[in-house]
Symmetry: C2
Subunit: 770 residues, 2 copies
Amino acid sequence: MLDFTDPWKITEVNFDPSALGKVEANFCLGNGYLGLRSATEEKYLGETRDLLVAGTFDRFSPEEVTELPNAADVTNIELTLNGCRFDLTQGSMKNYHRTLDLKTGLLVREVTWTSLKGETFTLKFERVVSLKRLHTIAMRVSVTPEQDTKITFQSGIDGRVTCDGSQHFTEGQTRFYDKKYLQFTPKTIQSDITFVIDAAHKFTVGGQGVEPASDINILRRHMFSRFTLEAEAGQTVVLEKFANVYTTRDKDAAGLSVAELQEYALERLKEDALSGFDVLAAESADAWQEKVWDRVPIEIDGPDYDQLLIRFAQYHMQLMTPAHDNRMNIGAKGFSGEGYKGHTFWDTEIFLLPYFIFNMPDVARSLEEYRYLSLPGAHAKAKHNGYDGAQFPWESAWLDDGEVTPEYMGTDIITGQSIKVWSGFIEIHITADVAFGVWQYYMCTGDQDYMDRYGYELILDCAKFWASRLEPGEDGLLHINDVVGPDEYKEHVNDNAFTNYLARWNIQKALEYAAQLEAEKPELYAALDEKLGLSELRPVWAEKVEKIFLTQPNEHNVLPQDSTYLTLRDIDLSKYKAQAHVGGIMKDYNQDQITKIQVSKQADVMVLFYLLEDLFPREVKLASWDYYEPRCLHDSSLSLSTHSVLASDIGDPELGYSMFRKACLIDLDNENPHSSDAGIHAASYGGLWQCAVYGFGGLRMLGGKLRISPNMPQAWKKLRYTLLWRGQKLSVTATADTVEIVNETGAAPVTVEVWGKEYTFDKELTAAKD
Amino acid sequence: MLDFTDPWKITEVNFDPSALGKVEANFCLGNGYLGLRSATEEKYLGETRDLLVAGTFDRFSPEEVTELPNAADVTNIELTLNGCRFDLTQGSMKNYHRTLDLKTGLLVREVTWTSLKGETFTLKFERVVSLKRLHTIAMRVSVTPEQDTKITFQSGIDGRVTCDGSQHFTEGQTRFYDKKYLQFTPKTIQSDITFVIDAAHKFTVGGQGVEPASDINILRRHMFSRFTLEAEAGQTVVLEKFANVYTTRDKDAAGLSVAELQEYALERLKEDALSGFDVLAAESADAWQEKVWDRVPIEIDGPDYDQLLIRFAQYHMQLMTPAHDNRMNIGAKGFSGEGYKGHTFWDTEIFLLPYFIFNMPDVARSLEEYRYLSLPGAHAKAKHNGYDGAQFPWESAWLDDGEVTPEYMGTDIITGQSIKVWSGFIEIHITADVAFGVWQYYMCTGDQDYMDRYGYELILDCAKFWASRLEPGEDGLLHINDVVGPDEYKEHVNDNAFTNYLARWNIQKALEYAAQLEAEKPELYAALDEKLGLSELRPVWAEKVEKIFLTQPNEHNVLPQDSTYLTLRDIDLSKYKAQAHVGGIMKDYNQDQITKIQVSKQADVMVLFYLLEDLFPREVKLASWDYYEPRCLHDSSLSLSTHSVLASDIGDPELGYSMFRKACLIDLDNENPHSSDAGIHAASYGGLWQCAVYGFGGLRMLGGKLRISPNMPQAWKKLRYTLLWRGQKLSVTATADTVEIVNETGAAPVTVEVWGKEYTFDKELTAAKD
C-alpha cells in the first residue's frame, strides 16, 4: 500500500510480499547511466533484481532480439540475527515504511522486527544511486538489537541473474583484492561489452569502525563475504556497502583496456568507500536539486498529490534518460524493469521529448542526435523493405541494430500460439514521428547548429522514405496501405489518418526546407543534394504530396481513423471499459477478431489532433472525441495523457483533469499491484508533464510559434512552471483567467499567443482571459 | 529432519525451508533417462529446480565447460486457497511428512495446513518418474478443504531455469494445443539438441471429472494455465498433471524431425493422461520391483537403518545410470543436482561399476562401451599433450567432448582468486582406472564379445599412453612426474604410488593380452596391431615396464604416497578431523600451502591396496592405514567407503562398520543440512554397496578369481546378497563364521576362495571360518 500524502515522498506503509514489483519498479533508482530496480536487500520469492546500464544491448540468440542485459546484483545483503534470517514474512513487525524521497533520490526502509525467536531489532536500510558519480551505488544497513546479538551479513556480487532466463554474460574474472574489494568482470556474449562490477564493505559498531571476522567465497557466477559481528543490546551495527559499474562501452572509459578499466574502477571504489555513505548521498541530493528541482521547478497550488505526481514524473524522466551519451536513448520502461527490453519507441519523440525540449534542450539534442546516428539502421530497414530513404525501426536499440521489435509476444487465445507482432513490420508512422521530433526541437530551441548538422537531413531522408512508400490507388490518389497506426488493435489497415497526415506533413516540411536551404544555404543544400538526390526528388515529392489520400470528417464530423474503422461492427465494450487491468479484451478475442471490431487500444486520431491541431476544426475534434473515446480501452499507457491534453485543448479541463488523475494511476494504483512488474511506463511520465504543462498550463509550440493558453481545472488554483523558448527562460504563472510570463533571460523580445491574442514582450507579460 | 525408521522409506518429518536442497537432492526421482530434483510443487526461496536429461550436454560459452543443462521446470504448481497462496512458511501446519518410498519410487507429501486466514486444508502431493515409460513424469495434487473453498491452480512449463545462471536453451516454440496440451520446444544453444517438453492437466472434484475454468498464458520462456474450481467443505479436488520430455538426441527418436517428434511426444502425453496417475505409478512400482529389488536383493539381519541405506544406495544407482544408451555414463552427482555438471569421473570404474558388474552386467557393459566410444577424445587429449595412445579425460561428458574439467573452481583464500583446477591437466590415473574397469568387467562376467570388440583395444591403447608418459630419471628408472594422485590435496607430485603401480599394472596387462591374442586370436591381434602398432610397441613396453619406479614401504612398513609426502611438515589436524563440514582446511590454507603439509583429502594408497591387494603384505596395509588415516580429512565422498572396505579386509570389521556408518551420513546427515545442495554424492552409493558386499560380505574379484570371505560386523547377524559370476547367479548368505553360497543358475561348477581356502562346487557350498 503506497501513501502519497507528502508532496516530495512516496511511502510504502506496509510490506506486501505479493506485490514486490510495484515498489521495485516505481521506487527504482538511477542516473541515466545505470538503473537499479529497488528490490529489498534480503531476497523474497517473486522479486526481480535488475541492474541495467544504458546502451549495453546484447542479443542472447538469433531467435531473440537484443535487449538491455541484467547485470550482476550488488544489492542483496542477507542478515542473520542470532541465527534467524531477517525476513519480513516471518515473525512480526511494526513501524514499517519504505520511502522514496524524490527531492534527494534517497530510498529508505525502516522497520522494527521481531524474529520468530521473539527477539526484536530496529533496522534501517538506505540506498542511493549517485546522480553525481554516475557509476556509483551506495547502501547503508543499520541494525540495532534490543538484546545482545550475533549478526551475520552475507553480501557480495551475484551474476546469476538473467533477463527472464536469458543470460547475457559470460562469467569472466571473479576476484577479491586484499580480501576486501570484490571485482567481477563479466562480458556480454554477443555484443562483447565487458562490465567491471566492484563492491566493498565498511562496518561500525556503536559508531566505532571495526573489521569484522569474514570469509571470502568465489562460486559460479557469484562471490560474497560473510561478516560476523557481535552487538550489545542497544548498540547499532552499521554496514556501508559501495558498489560501482563500468563498461567498455562507456565514453568515459574509451581507450582503456579491460585491465586498465579494472584498475580504474577499483580506484574509484576505494574513493567512494573513503567518502562514505553520507558524503555520497549528500552529493547526489545536491545534484538532484541543481539538475532537476532548481532547473525545472513546477509548482501547483492544488492537491499535494498532483504536485507529488508531477515530481514523480520528473524523477523518472531524469533517471531513465541517458543524457551522457548520444548513442543512447530512452527505454520504454526506463531503467525500472526488463519490459520492452530497453528499446526506444515513438514514446521518445511524442511523449517524452517535449519535457526535455522545453526544460533541458541539451538532453533533447542528445536524444535527437541518437536518431541521426541511427540512420544506417533506418536506411537498411528501408532498403530491406524495398523503399528509399530512412525508415526508422519501430523499436530501436544500439545504433546499428536496426529493427529490434520482437516478432512474437503474448498469447493468442484462439490458436494457443504466441501472437505475431506486426509493429516491427508495418507500424511505420515512427518515421514521421522522428521527423516531427526534429522539427519540434528546432522550433522551440532554434538550435540551428543541430539542424545544419543533423536535422535537415533527417527530415529530408524521412520524406524520401514516405514518397517511396506511397501506393497509387484506382482513385488516382496515393495511399498508404497495410499499416498499423497508433491504435495497435487495428492491424493491416489502409490509410490510417495519423500515418497519412503525418507522412504528408513530413514531405511538405521537406519540400519547404529544401527550398529554403537552396536559397539560403547553398553549400549545405549541395551537400544534402549529393547525399540524398534532392534535385531529382523534389519535383516528385511536390507532385506526390498533393495526391496523398487523407480521410475526411464524415457527415457527423468524425474523422475516420482509417479506411474501414467506421464500418466495423460495434460490440458492447462496457466490460472492458470498466476493467481493473488493461488488455482484458485479449482474453476474449484474438487480434484477428479485434481488428474487425470498432474498438481502440489507445489514442489514434487524438494524437493527430494534438500534433497537427490547426488542421482540424474544433467541431471535428469534439465529434471525434465523442465517437472514439467510448470505443477506446486505454489499454496503452500512451492513451490517457493524450486524451487529457486534448480535453483541455477543446475547453474541458475538468475532463482533462479526470483523465490526468487516471493517468497518475498507471503505475501507482494501489488497486493494481502488478501493473509495474515489468517496469514503469516511461512515456506516461512525459504524458503527466504534458497533462499539466501542455494541457492545464496551455503551453504549446504551434506552427513554429509559442502559445501559452492555460485551461486550468478547478482543483488547481495556480500553476507555475518555467520553459526555455529559443534560449530564453520564461517563468509562467497561470490561473483560471490570468497568465503572468516573466522572461528571466530577457535577451530579446518574445512573441507568444495567449488565449487567442498575440503578444510581444521584453520582460514581463500579464494577460487575462476575456 | 529426516527419519530413517522404515527399512523402505525415508521421511522428512518437518519442513525446513532453510534446508531445501537436502530433500530435493536425496529424494530425487529418475530413471536413467531423466532425473527430476524433488523441489516442492510450490516455490520457496533458495530452492533448486532441476530437470536433467542424460547425455544432453551443452556448453554455454567457450570460457565454460559443457554440462548437463537444466531443462524446463514442469513441477511448479501454485495453489491459491480462498485467496491465500499455499506456502508452508505461512500459517501453521500439522501432520506434515514427505516420504520417498524406495520400493515404488513414489514421492508423497502430506500436510494439514491452516492459512493465515485460519482456514484449514488437507493436501497430498504425489509424484513419480516412470521407470517403465522413460519420458514420463506424473504428479497428483489432492486438496480437501474444511470449508467451502475457491481453489486456483497455476501450472505449466517454465523454461526460465538455468544452471547457476548459465542458460543453455533458446526459447523455441511455445504452444497450447486445444487449449489444454502445453508444448515447449527449446533447443540447446551449442550442442543443437531440441527438447520437446509437454504437459497436460486433469481434474476431479469429489471423484467426478471436471473441466474447470482456465486461461492460457504464453510468456517469455514460460507458459501456464490458471485453473479455478470451487470445492465444498470436505470435498476433495484432485489435479493430475502429466509431463514428458523427448529430445532429438534420444535413440528412440532417431530419424524423427522436430515436427514429428513434437507430434509423437504429444501422442504419448495423451496416452499418459488417459492412463492416469494410478496406472503410471503402479507400472513404475512394478518396474522397480522387477529391475531392482527382485534382481538385486540384499538382506541385512541387522539395523533397519543399514538395510534402508543399502536400498537407498541401490535406488540412486538405478536412477542415475543411463543404461538405455551406451553413449552416456554416470554423472558424479547423479541426476540430483548441477554439481560436477553431469560429468563422468573415475567414480564410475572404481566406485560404481562393481555393483553393476556383479548385478547388472548389461548395464556395466553399456558403461564400458561408453569408454570405448569416447576413445577419439582420449586420443586427442594424448596427442594434445604430446603422448601416444589413449589418455582419458579426467572429466568426461559427450563422446567427442574430450577433457571437460573446469579450469577454475573455488576460492583461494590467500590470493582472492578462483583456484586453478589441475585435475584436468595432470590427474592422469583415470586412464589406468578405465583399463582396470575393463579388466574387472571381463574377469567377472567373462564377456568375451566385449573384450574382442572393445576391451582388449582399450587396455592396449591405455598402455600405449602410459609407456609414452614415463620419464627417464637420473636413477636409470622411469618416473611419472608432476601428477595429481587420488589425493587431490597434493598437486604436482612425482611418482604417486597409486598412479605408478596402476600404470605398471596396465602395461603388464597389455603385454599379457597382446601375447595371448597373438597366440590365440591371430586375426584380432593383426587388426589391433595395425591399429595400434603392437609389434613395435611390445618390446618397448617389456623393457619399460621393468624400470618403472615404484615407491617401497619404508622402515615402518608405510608405503610412501609419492616421492615427498613423508618428508612434508605435519600440522595439528584435530580441528579439521573434528569438522562438521568437509573442506575446512581450505578456509585456513590455500592449495599451495596444503600441498606442503602431510594431509590428505581422501584415500590414496588405500585405493591401491584395495585394487591391487595381493601386491602388498598385511603389515604394510596396517602400518599405512595407521599412518595415513589420521592425516586424511575424508574431504572427498570417495574416502570413507574405501577405508571401510580396507578396514574389513585387514580384519577390523568394527572399524569398517564405523566408517560405513559415517559414509551413510555423507548425504543424509541431519546435522549437515547443505551437504547435498549441489546433488548427492553418486560414487558414495557404490561405496556403500562395497562396504556391505565387498567389505562385510567379503566379495571380491582378485587376480581374476572369485573370493567370498565375509568380515561381518557385530551389528549384522546375517547378510544375504546375490551376484552374477560369469553368467551364473550366486546367492550368498554370510554370518560371522559361515558362508552359504547357492548357485541358482547351476550351469557349471564355480570356484571360489573362502577365508583362505579354495572350493569348487556345483550347486551349493557351505563354508565355516576356522
